[in-house]
C-alpha cells in the first residue's frame, strides 16, 4: 500500500521535473538586443536622418473597441512613418472593460511589445511602474523626446514621476481637475431657481426642495449613483474611494483619516437629511450608474468639468445643461496621469518608440491621422482648422482621442469654439497645485493593509456617502472597522514616504 503510493508520487514528480527542464531549456537564452546607434541619427538641429536608421516595427496596445478601418489607417500611418523615422506600427486595440486584465496577463507573461496606454484608472500606472513593467524614460526624453518636453506643461511630467523617474508620456489635455454641479436648465428656468450662489452641498437644499414639492416622484432632484461623494477639501492619497488624504490648504503636511474630519461629519448628516427627504433615489447605494441624462428627469448631478464642457453635455443630451463649480481647479498627482503612453521594459526598440511618441505629440498630420482617419473617407475638411465627421468615422474608425497623445494638435469640430485648446491651456495654468502633487505612494510595503482597507471602503463608503444609512450609527462603526483593517498603518507608511519625498523637493 505504502510502497505503491510512494511510487505514484515519484512517477508524478519525475514527469514534472522532465517537463520543467524542457520548459526552461525552451525559453532560456533570449537575446539582449543592445540599443543600436540610434543616437547617431539625430542631427544637431534635432531632426532625424533616416538613412542611419534600420527599419523597425513597433507594437502598440491601445484602449478602446476594435475599429474596422484600423488596418487601412495603419497602412497610411506607416507610409508616413516610414519616411519620417523608417518605422512601421502595429496597433492592437483592447476593449475598455478588458484592457487592465488583458494587459496584466500580457506584461506578466513577458510578451514583448513596445508601447501601451496606461493611466491612473486603467492598467494602473503607479503599481505597474513600480513593478518594473515600464521603461525609465528620463534619458530617452532628453535624447529623443525634446519635442514632448516643449509642448507639455512641465507639471505633467513632474506629477507622473515615481521616485524621480518618468515612466510614461502624458497626453496633453486638461491637467487640473474641477468638480461642478450640473443643472438641468429646464427645471432651473421653470421654477426660476437662483443657482448663482450654489457651491456647497448645503446650498442645494432650497432648490432640491422646490423640485421635490412641485414635481412628480419620478423626477430625481439630486441624480447621483453609488459613486457619489460630497466634495471634500482633501488631496486624496489613493483615490477618493479610500478615506485618506491631506487638507488642500494644509500647513503641517500630515495625512489624516478623512472619516474623522468635521467636514465629512457635517456633509454626511446633510446627505442623510437629503436621503430622508427623498432628494436622492432610494436605491442610490446600489446604483452603479444613473441614466438621468437620457431621461431628462433630474435637477442636479455632479461631474468633472473641462473648458466648454457644457456645450458638449448639452449637445449629447439634446437639452440645455448649465454648471456651477464646487471648487477651484486643482492639479492632483492623479489628474496628471489621466492618460499616458508608456514604453514597455520588454521593448527592443525604446529609442525608436520615443521618436514615435515625440512625433505623435508634435506632428499635426500624424496626430490627426491616427485619431480621425483618412481625409475624404472618415472626415471632411472644412474651412480653417475645422473638420466634419463622415458617417464612416462613427461606423468604422471611432478612436479614443484622449489616449493618443497631444490633444491640442487635433482639429476642431463644427460648433467647437475657436479658442478651445487655448482655453485648455488657460484652464491648466489657472490650476493650483495640490500639496502632495508629484508624490507617488508605493503601496508594496502595506499591500495587505491596502487590500483590507479597500474591502472595508466598499462595504461602508457608498451607503454612508449617499446618506442611505444613519451616520450617527454607522460612522463610528466604519471608523472602527477601518482601524481594524490597518488604516493607521497605511497612514503612517504614507506619512513616512511623504516626508522623505518632501525633503528631496526643495
Amino acid at each position: 500500500m505504502n510502497k505503491s503510493k510512494s511510487k505514484k508520487v515519484s512517477l508524478l514528480s519525475l514527469t514534472l521535473i522532465l517537463l520543467l527542464s524542457v520548459v526552461l531549456a525552451g525559453c532560456g537564452a533570449k537575446e539582449n538586443n543592445e540599443a543600436a546607434k540610434e543616437s547617431e541619427a539625430i542631427k544637431s538641429d534635432g531632426t532625424v536622418d533616416i538613412s542611419k536608421l534600420d527599419p523597425v516595427n513597433l507594437k502598440m496596445y491601445l484602449i478602446g473597441p476594435n475599429q474596422k478601418d484600423l488596418p487601412k489607417v495603419q497602412e497610411e500611418i506607416n507610409k508616413y512613418l516610414k519616411d519620417k523615422i523608417n518605422t512601421t506600427l502595429s496597433i492592437s486595440m483592447i476593449d475598455w472593460g478588458d484592457y487592465s486584465q488583458r494587459m496584466q496577463v500580457i506584461t506578466s507573461s513577458g510578451e514583448d511589445y513596445d508601447i501601451a496606454f496606461t493611466s491612473s484608472w486603467a492598467f494602473d500606472y503607479l503599481p505597474n511602474a513600480s513593478k518594473g513593467v515600464f521603461m525609465p524614460l528620463n534619458d530617452l526624453l532628453d535624447n529623443y523626446g525634446q519635442g514632448i518636453k516643449e509642448v507639455l506643461d512641465p507639471r505633467f511630467l513632474e506629477g507622473t514621476k515615481v521616485n524621480g523617474v518618468n515612466y510614461g508620456v502624458p497626453a496633453n489635455k486638461e491637467l487640473a481637475q474641477q468638480f461642478v454641479w450640473r443643472f438641468n436648465k429646464k427645471y432651473v428656468d421653470k421654477y426660476n431657481l437662483d443657482i448663482s450662489n450654489v457651491t456647497t452641498l448645503e446650498d442645494l437644499e432650497p432648490l432640491l426642495k422646490v423640485i421635490k414639492d412641485n414635481e412628480t416622484a419620478d423626477i430625481t432632484p439630486l441624480a447621483v449613483p453609488k459613486g457619489f461623494k460630497p466634495f471634500m477639501p482633501f488631496d486624496f492619497l489613493l483615490g477618493d474611494e479610500l478615506p485618506i488624504g491631506m487638507y488642500l490648504d494644509t500647513k503641517d503636511y500630515k495625512f489624516v483619516n478623512i472619516l474623522e474630519s468635521p467636514e465629512l461629519k457635517s456633509a454626511l448628516s446633510t446627505m442623510r437629511n437629503y436621503y430622508k427627504a427623498g432628494y436622492v433615489r432610494e436605491d442610490v447605494a446600489t446604483l452603479d450608474g444613473i441614466d438621468n441624462i437620457k431621461t431628462g428627469k433630474w435637477l442636479v448631478d455632479r461631474e468633472i468639468t473641462q473648458p466648454y464642457a457644457e456645450l458638449g453635455w448639452s449637445r449629447n443630451a439634446g437639452y440645455d445643461i448649465v454648471t456651477r463649480p464646487m471648487q477651484d481647479p486643482v492639479i492632483y498627482t492623479s489628474s496628471a496621469a489621466g492618460s499616458m503612453l508608456a514604453i514597455s521594459s520588454y521593448s527592443k526598440n525604446p529609442e525608436r518608440s520615443m521618436m514615435f511618441l515625440n512625433l505623435l505629440n508634435t506632428d499635426k498630420y500624424l496626430r490627426n491621422l491616427i485619431q480621425y482617419g483618412i481625409e475624404g473617407e472618415h472626415y471632411k475638411k472644412l474651412e480653417g482648422d475645422y473638420i466634419e465627421d463622415l458617417p464612416a468615422m462613427q461606423e468604422r474608425y471611432a478612436m479614443p482621442g484622449f489616449a493618443l497623445g497631444n490633444m491640442f494638435l487635433t482639429s476642431l469640430h463644427d460648433g467647437d469654439p475657436e479658442d478651445k485648446w487655448s482655453s485648455f491651456e488657460e484652464f491648466n495654468a489657472s490650476g493650483v497645485v495640490a500639496p502632495t502633487f508629484g508624490f507617488n505612494f508605493d503601496t508594496s510595503k502595506v499591500k495587505t493593509e491596502v487590500a483590507s482597507v479597500t474591502n472595508v471602503a466598499k462595504e461602508f463608503i457608498p451607503s454612508l456617502y449617499t446618506g442611505s444609512v444613519d451616520p450617527d450609527e454607522y460612522l463610528p462603526k466604519a471608523i472602527q472597522k477601518f482601524k481594524d483593517a490597518g488604516i493607521d498603518k497605511v497612514l503612517a507608511e504614507a506619512q513616512k514616504q511623504f516626508d522623505e519625498w518632501k525633503a528631496t523637493q526643495k
Partner: protein, 309 residues
C-alpha cells in the same frame, strides 16, 4: 525496472487509451501549475521575460496570504463560504435527484422533455441578467414583492439593505439556476439502469415507491457520492456572480453575502497584484484538497468501491 516495464507492457492497451488525455493534462494543467510559486514571491518584471521575472523576484514566505486572515472579516467570509456551499450542495443534491426521478416517471414523455428544456434555461442567463430580473421583484419602490406586501397592507421592505432575507434569497436563486443542469447527470444515469430490474420488481409486486427506494436510489448512489465529494472539494470556492451581482454589491449586505471570492476580488481589483491573487487561489485549492482527502477517506472506510481513489 524490468518489473516495471513488464507492467507497462501488460497494460499497453489501456495505457494507449489514457495517452491523449495524459498529454493534455501535462500541457494544459500541470505545466502551468508552476505558476503557483508566485504565491510566495514579490513579483517584479524582469526584461528577459516571465521566467527571468519569476527567478529574480524575491521570496516573501506567506506574506501574500496575510490579507486573507488579518481582519476579522476572515471569520465571516470563511463561515459564509462554507455554510452557503454546504446548503447548496445538500439541497442541490436532494432536489436534483428528486427532479430527475420525477422527470423519469412522468407518463407524458413529451411534457417531460418540455419541462426539462425549460429548466435548463437559467443556465444560459448570466448573473447580470438574473440580477436585473431579481431586481424587478426586490426593488423597493417598484418591485413586485413590495407591491404585493403593500396590497395586503404591509410595510414595504428595503430588500437590498436588510440582511436577514439574503441567506434564503441566495440559496433559493443558487439552487434555481443549477437544478436543471445538475439533474441531467442523474437523469442520464437513471436512463442507464437496466430495465429488467424494474420488470422483476413489478412481478414481485413492488410499489413505485419501493422501486425508487430499493432500485433507483441505490443505483444512483455511486454517482451521488462522487459528485458530492467533488463538490466538497470546491467548498472554498463559490459562484462569484451569485454573491456579487445578485445582491448588487450592496455594502449593507456584506456580512451575509461576502465570501472568499468576493473578498479577494474587492481587495485586489485595483491593485492587480498577481502574487496575492495566486495566493488566494492556492489557499482555496489546499483547503479543497484536504477536505476531499478527508471525505474520500471516510467514504473509503464505509464503501471502498465508491471512493474516487
Amino acid at each position: 525496472m524490468n518489473v516495471f516495464w513488464k507492467k507497462l507492457l501488460r497494460n499497453k492497451g489501456l495505457l494507449l487509451l489514457v495517452l491523449p488525455g495524459t498529454v493534455w493534462f501535462l500541457v494544459f494543467a500541470y505545466l502551468p501549475m508552476f505558476g503557483s510559486v508566485l504565491a510566495f514571491k514579490d513579483f517584479r518584471i524582469h526584461r528577459d521575460g516571465f521566467f527571468a521575472s519569476v527567478l529574480n523576484s524575491k521570496w516573501m514566505g506567506f506574506k501574500n496570504f496575510e490579507y486573507l486572515f488579518t481582519t476579522n472579516d476572515a471569520y465571516i467570509i470563511t463561515r459564509n463560504t462554507i455554510l452557503y456551499n454546504l446548503a447548496l450542495i445538500i439541497l442541490g443534491l436532494v432536489i436534483s435527484v428528486t427532479f430527475a426521478i420525477i422527470l423519469s416517471e412522468l407518463v407524458n414523455k413529451k411534457m417531460a422533455k418540455i419541462y426539462q428544456t425549460g429548466m435548463f434555461l437559467p443556465h444560459f442567463l448570466s448573473w447580470v441578467i438574473i440580477s436585473y430580473f431579481a431586481f424587478t421583484f426586490l426593488s423597493t419602490d417598484k418591485g413586485t414583492l413590495n407591491q404585493i406586501i403593500s396590497y395586503f397592507g404591509g410595510e414595504p421592505i428595503m430588500w437590498y439593505t436588510e440582511q436577514k432575507y439574503w441567506p434564503f434569497i441566495l440559496i433559493f436563486v443558487g439552487i434555481w439556476k443549477g437544478v436543471g443542469y445538475n439533474s441531467v447527470i442523474y437523469l442520464a444515469s437513471i436512463t442507464g439502469i437496466d430495465k429488467s430490474y424494474y420488470e422483476a420488481a413489478v412481478i414481485d409486486g413492488a410499489t413505485k415507491w419501493k422501486q425508487i427506494r430499493y432500485i433507483t436510489i441505490p443505483l444512483l448512489k455511486p454517482l451521488m457520492i462522487i459528485l458530492t465529494i467533488l463538490a466538497i472539494g470546491g467548498i472554498f470556492r463559490s459562484d462569484f456572480g451569485l454573491f456579487y451581482q445578485l445582491p448588487k454589491d450592496s455594502g449593507a449586505l456584506y456580512p451575509v453575502t461576502n465570501v472568499i471570492d468576493t473578498f479577494v476580488y474587492r481587495g485586489l481589483i485595483n491593485m492587480g497584484d498577481i502574487g496575492m491573487s495566486t495566493a488566494a487561489g492556492l489557499y482555496q485549492s489546499m483547503v479543497g484538497l484536504i477536505l476531499i482527502l478527508i471525505t474520500n477517506y471516510i467514504v473509503r472506510k464505509i464503501e471502498k468501491d465508491h471512493a474516487i481513489f
